[in-house]
């Protein structure tokens, strides 16, 4: 060995190391698998049964935000490129349409303000609590759950903007879902079409109270336990009933599109089409009801007082 130049000796030891590294110590791999496996299963159980891990999840979600934003880039860019290539004439006609729509909506709002005032006055006469306008926050979609079985989306507003778990989410057409988990910058929204989601609704024509359950298909909701003699028709509008205290009263949820009376079954089979464009809306509204707004200053004043 002494006769060999130092470079060769180095190569020999390198090769020895290389050969050593060819054979992994299988026993440590086994121990590691068992260790990490048990750790993961403990995490799964704790996460499923409690909310101790929500803080950790929120922290990790902040780290994961760049991935979500990067994944959303192509669709965002596609929209922008589409806009870039639309002609001047297209843009002008679009602006014209939007102006007309704005005037129409303004006229409607004026009427609405008067009606709301009148409604509150009448409620005052009846001695019941006044209905206030709900405040909303506009958010943008930045991600969709890749699993087709899960109807969840990710929006770009989080606990920093005051979003809370259970907050109702709307789009311009109707109720979309509710917030189920939060991080600093983003939050995850469960859509009303998810099979694990139900909304208390009422038929706006007959005030019949029902529950609309998600089916796992974006354009269909199922109304459960509808009696065969119930006053419900195809074309009826379903609005949120406010029972369950999660969703505010009176937002459109869907329109009944099929009623089947099967003599072999105890209840009628009724389905509805959601009013919200669940798979198409990019901009959504987060609703702060007056109760939530009232709660925030109350908490802070309590904190100051002590």
């Amino acid at each position: 060995m002494e006769n060999l130049p130092p470079g060769v000796a180095g190569q020999v030891t390198n090769r020895d190391e290389a050969i050593k590294s060819l054979f992994l110590e299988e026993t440590t791999t086994g121990y590691k698998m068992v260790g990490f496996g048990i750790l993961s299963i403990v995490l799964v159980v704790v996460d499923h049964l409690s909310d101790y891990l929500d803080e950790i999840r929120a922290g990790l979600t902040v780290i994961a935000t760049p991935v979500l934003i990067a994944a959303d880039l192509p669709s965002r860019e596609a929209n922008e490129i589409r806009e870039m290539f639309s002609t001047r004439g297209d843009m002008r006609s679009q602006i014209g349409e939007l102006r007309q729509e704005l005037i129409l909506l303004k006229a409607k709002t004026e009427k609405m303000a008067a009606l709301a005032a009148e409604n509150n006055r009448l409620r005052g006469l009846l001695g019941s609590a006044a209905k206030l306008q709900d405040n909303v926050l506009v958010a943008e979609l930045i991600g969709v759950d890749p699993d087709p079985e899960k109807h969840e989306v990710i929006i770009d507003k989080g606990s920093r903007e005051g979003v809370f778990v259970g907050q109702p989410v709307l789009d311009a057409q109707g109720l979309m879902g509710q917030v189920i988990s939060l991080s600093h910058f983003t939050s995850r929204v469960l859509l009303i079409s998810d099979p694990s989601h139900s909304v208390p609704v009422q038929v706006s024509r007959s005030n019949l109270r029902l529950i609309a359950q998600g089916t796992g298909v974006t354009n269909s909701l199922e109304l459960v336990h509808v009696q065969d003699t119930a006053d419900i028709q195809v074309g009826d509008l379903l609005v949120s009933s406010g029972l369950g205290k999660r969703f505010p009263v009176g937002y459109p949820v869907g329109i009944v599109n099929k009623i089947e009376h099967d003599p072999g079954r105890p209840f009628a089979i009724v389905t509805a089409v959601p009013s919200a464009l669940l798979d198409r809306s990019r901009h959504v509204l987060l609703v702060f009801t007056e109760k939530e707004l009232a709660r925030i200053p109350e908490v802070s004043s309590d904190g100051d007082g002590r």
Binding site: T29, M33, I41, V44, P146, P148
Partner: protein, 169 residues
């Protein structure tokens, strides 16, 4: 030359980048006009990348990397924390006990193993979700492993090119 090859951080950024891209592909939204079935055709990008690096560099990428990437995927997908982590750990164990044989296999034989391993990954995820009462069995889940096995040769060639180009060892 020897010192460059020996430095343990050689090309860590390449490995990290491939995982980053795989995670982006894993959560990339489908176009709105795409039919729902397309959603099931999405391969398990992160597992494919994981299997490749375990076969290529078993002394650097192993159970620990599998666990942390699985936890990260759990956060990205909003699944139960640890659910993908445990599945990835099992996949990593299978891959790292077979890596010497896998290196000898042709790329299509490797595809078969990838099919079985990703099927196992899907099964573990499904078990956990069904015990937690979050999902129902759906035959379409198997499409994921079919698609992953089908894409494996290209992923393998691409990652091998990257590894050789940037001297990751």
């Amino acid at each position: 030359m020897a010192t460059v090859a020996d430095s343990p951080s050689n090309g860590t950024w390449v490995i990290a980048l491939t995982f980053f891209v795989a995670m982006i592909l894993a959560v990339m939204p489908m176009p709105e006009f795409a039919p729902v079935v397309l959603g099931y055709l999405r391969p398990e990008w992160v597992v494919l990348v994981l299997i490749y690096w375990i076969i290529a560099l078993p002394q650097r990428v192993g159970i620990a990397v599998a666990w942390s990437s699985g936890l990260f995927v759990d956060v990205l997908l909003g699944s139960l924390l640890g659910q993908h982590a445990v599945a990835y750990v099992v996949v990593a164990y299978v891959a790292s006990s077979l890596y010497q044989r896998l290196r000898m296999f042709s790329v299509w034989q490797q595809s078969m193993i990838v099919f079985a391993t990703i099927g196992l990954n899907q099964l573990i995820n499904f078990w956990i979700e069904s015990i937690a009462g979050l999902t129902d069995w759906n035959i379409w889940y198997l499409l994921t492993s079919v698609m992953s096995a089908f894409l494996w040769p290209w992923i393998f060639l691409m990652l091998r090119y990257l590894r050789r180009r940037f001297h990751v060892s």
